[in-house]
């Protein structure tokens, strides 16, 4: 049984003056346990919308959305989310931000503290535990956001262009960090991006979406063995798949 399965999902928004916007049209996909799956497509294709639906932050208009054998009905701590924008709570320190995610876990305080320290170490921010978000760079903030989403161990981690607001170098380092974290933990991830290299480097499988109304255009299994190294990006096999993905997406971009 798939951890996540979408069957003929439609999402239609009411827009101004009685018109409607079809964000998602008849979307079918699945994510297996311990799999890293990416959703790529042009801007506005509804990939973020789909992530919000899975997180339970929005409701599907039509179709079925199954998570862990049950239909998705609202948000819950079994699905974590990392947003593109900075969502740390600025009045809390880094440690307090991470611990905030554990308050409904029912864990004893000592266990919470231990998990927070583990999560901090995982993203390499141990000495910044007492800092406030305003003292951190964009990359550090997203590392805290990742630590915060991992600390309560959700069954599925949803990542909505988490590195989209970072500069190219930081982005690169974040991809490598996420790659190594994922390869040692194997949390199930559904990752939204429009960066083809990023998707290829990180994913087991990639879904390519069409422009709005978004639906599936293609599916690609990424054959590269793990653990992967960033040098992978210069191999002919990688470049070939990259070319293929770019062609699929290029056909969808309107400009």
């Amino acid at each position: 049984m798939s951890l996540l399965r979408a069957r003929a999902v439609w999402k239609i928004y009411a827009a101004q003056r009685g018109t409607e916007v079809i964000a998602l049209r008849d979307l079918n996909l699945h994510v297996e346990e311990n799999e890293f799956v990416s959703l790529i497509g042009p801007s506005g294709c509804g990939k973020s919308t789909f992530l919000h639906l899975v997180a339970g932050l929005d409701e599907i208009t039509q179709g079925e959305l199954w998570f862990d054998g049950r239909p998705v009905e609202g948000p819950g701590a079994d699905r974590g989310m990392v947003f593109q924008s900075y969502t740390l709570y600025p009045w809390l320190t880094v440690r307090e931000n991470i611990r905030f995610a554990l308050q409904k876990s029912g864990l004893p305080r000592a266990d919470q503290e231990r998990r927070v320290e583990e999560a901090l170490a995982l993203v390499g921010l141990h000495e910044f535990g007492h800092a406030h978000p305003y003292q951190l760079s964009g990359g550090m903030r997203q590392r805290v956001a990742i630590a915060r989403a991992l600390v309560y161990r959700p069954r599925l981690l949803l990542m909505d262009e988490p590195f989209g607001a970072l500069d190219a170098q930081t982005r690169r380092l974040m991809q490598e960090l996420l790659l190594s974290i994922w390869e040692s933990h194997r949390t199930t991830v559904l990752f939204v991006t429009h960066d083809v290299e990023e998707a290829l480097l990180l994913s087991d499988r990639i879904y390519v979406m069409t422009a709005r109304p978004g639906t599936l255009k293609a599916e690609l299994s990424v054959p590269f063995p793990r653990p992967r190294r960033p040098e992978l990006e210069t191999t002919p096999e990688f470049l070939e798949l990259r070319q293929q993905l770019l062609e699929w997406i290029r056909g969808e971009v309107r400009w």
Partner: protein, 275 residues
């Protein structure tokens, strides 16, 4: 070939204090502000000591100072001051006690916004000052009438500002809290309120400033004691120095509270990011 030495690089110092958005040293910033105040004061002193204006229209700084000493000695200033401060404190707190919860409801629930905003807008555009005769009819000329005027003048603006403060909390901050399993009430208490607090604190500062205006207007029209009343009485007896003193005292009080709010803002909300 012999290398030509580069000519000395010209170092033209730019006059950054007249650049668009140019930074200036803090010392210059504060010196400029202080100098202007000193200049106006000096001008006042020169004009009156040369007797260019009749003291009935503009008394000298010395006369105002003497009036201050007199009012302190007779206990009038303290009586007026404490009465006015008491009125503004109570009136503003009543208004705030209503504005905070209602503003939070309006900022979070579209229903309450839809229910209350048209009504609040309607009253907001009625000048609070025009309610003075009506409130005297209702409540006499005592403290209660001052509280009512302060409420009418403050609440209807304050509640809308607090609604906006709440609305500026990014949606993602709320959504991420849901993904940790928090309920909407927990999210309201642990995320929306602390996130909106700096904005709300600033609203407090601004509305308290407005409250002074409404209080003085109410006291000018009808009162037996208070800073506004003192100004009104002084006008009747042509005691211009008392009028000037009253205005200066009110201005100073306003400045002090404003600075107190700004200072506590920096202490409490040091984590707010400067844009």
């Amino acid at each position: 070939m012999a290398e030509n030495p580069l000519p000395a690089h010209p170092r033209r110092k730019r006059n950054s204090w007249l650049e668009l958005r140019g930074e200036i040293p803090p010392s210059l910033y504060f010196a400029a502000g202080g100098s202007l105040i000193a200049f106006v004061f000096l001008l006042w002193w020169v004009v009156t000591s040369l007797e260019l204006v009749s003291p009935i229209f503009l008394p000298s700084p010395e006369a105002v100072w003497k009036e201050l000493v007199l009012q302190i000695r007779e206990g009038i200033l303290w009586q007026d001051l404490s009465t006015s401060v008491y009125r503004i404190t109570v009136g503003w707190i009543i208004s705030t006690l209503f504005a905070v919860p209602i503003g939070i409801l309006m900022g979070n629930f579209r229903f309450f916004e839809g229910l209350l905003e048209p009504f609040i807008d309607l009253i907001r555009y009625m000048p609070a000052v025009a309610f003075v005769p009506l409130t005297i009819l209702w409540a006499g000329v005592g403290d209660t009438q001052k509280f009512i005027i302060l409420f009418i003048g403050t609440f209807f603006q304050e509640v809308l500002m607090i609604m906006d403060n709440v609305k500026t909390v990014p949606r993602e901050m709320i959504q991420v809290s849901y993904t940790f399993g928090l309920t909407k009430w927990e999210t309201l208490r642990k995320v929306i309120l602390p996130a909106a607090m700096p904005g709300i604190w600033d609203t407090f500062r601004i509305t308290l400033g407005w409250a002074w205006t409404y209080l003085v207007v109410a006291e000018l029209v009808a009162a037996n004691v208070g800073l506004g009343y003192r100004i009104m009485r002084a006008q009747r007896f042509l005691q211009t120095e008392s009028i000037i003193l009253g205005i200066l005292v009110i201005g100073l009080l306003g400045l002090l509270t404003d600075y107190a709010f700004k200072w506590s803002y920096r202490r409490m909300f040091y984590w707010v990011e400067q844009k």
